[in-house]
Subunit: 192 residues, 2 copies
């Protein structure tokens, strides 16, 4: 059992409807030692992948993008922004991201000057459920002529289709914790 | 000259209207080694202040909140959220933050379970201009019966009133870089 699994057992709350409450240690109040360990674990998983830079989307993804980048020897982090494009100019890559939670489509963007062509990119995010954010980030990689080498995730909900779709598309997805939902609606860890 | 000043000289762009473009190394594409050094510099500045936890507001503030917290020995980071309150319940501290850029008021919030009473809090953010975000974060500290011991900032625009107002209110504000605007509209570093 890794440190994130232990923290979920100790302090997480699994609610009906597939909601995993981890805001007291993961992404609202951050246990910094745990975030550092998550970064180390994700860096270890992609140790031989010759990653040039990390790509994430604001906001919570930044926590683990930073700790992973530091564990990989201070490689750069590129943060896709949501909404407001002021100060960036028109010179940017964009992707539409549908939110099942809010039933809305939003646009994420990365300034073209912030993501160089030809980079080997590792995508990092805290959650993987339907995979919409990751698909948007992969589209931005593609537009920038970068290679999305893989995706490093804190918590994957295997009862939602994102992880399966991405793996079928050939993406190396590493999730430190996988949660499944049983027929009675309760959740459980997926043991590999 | 500290590392952030050097980076601004090397890669920053100072535009008319008091706009400082630093997105290629500070808060859109992040130079991780620089972010680590900024965290160390802010941690050093508050070394004797007995800080219990860091408070910031999403999104860019998270970068430097994390590196400062790591430099302070992995103390916790609390991230005030904007907008959507789903998954948090009603049990939260809130503050209204006026944006001069967008001329709109938004609400930031912190779950009450994420900020314990009686903590000595260091507020971290990337920019200080009018100080509205910092005032909101200080209000949240006050509601939580915590002490806002100080504020650590990457770049302060001294030609806008936030820093002056906060210092007059007794807050210890440490800005790694202070930029002033001359009469001809160009910007320059403030030397201490």
């Amino acid at each position: 059992m890794n440190e994130l699994q232990k923290a979920i057992c100790r302090d997480g709350e699994l609610l009906p409807g597939g909601v995993i409450r981890v805001e007291r240690f993961l992404n609202h109040r951050v246990d910094t030692a745990l975030a550092r360990q998550i970064g180390q674990d994700l860096a270890d998983a992609f140790r031989d992948a010759q990653i040039d830079c990390i790509l994430t989307v604001e906001a919570s993804g930044i926590i683990f993008a930073m700790t992973t980048a530091m564990a990989m020897g201070d490689i750069p982090v590129v943060i896709a922004k949501k909404g407001n494009r002021r100060n960036l100019g028109d010179d940017m890559y964009t992707a539409d991201v549908f939110s099942f939670t809010h039933q809305t489509t939003s646009t994420i963007h990365v300034g073209k000057r912030c993501l160089e062509e030809g980079q080997r990119v590792l995508i990092i995010d805290d959650f993987l459920a339907n995979g919409e954010a990751l698909k948007g980030l992969m589209s931005i990689c593609h537009q920038a002529k970068c290679e999305a080498v893989g995706a490093g995730i804190c918590i994957e909900k295997t009862f939602q289709p994102g992880g399966k779709l991405l793996r079928e598309a050939g993406v190396q997805v590493v999730s430190l914790v996988k949660m499944d939902r049983k027929e009675d609606g309760t959740m459980c860890f997926v043991e590999e």
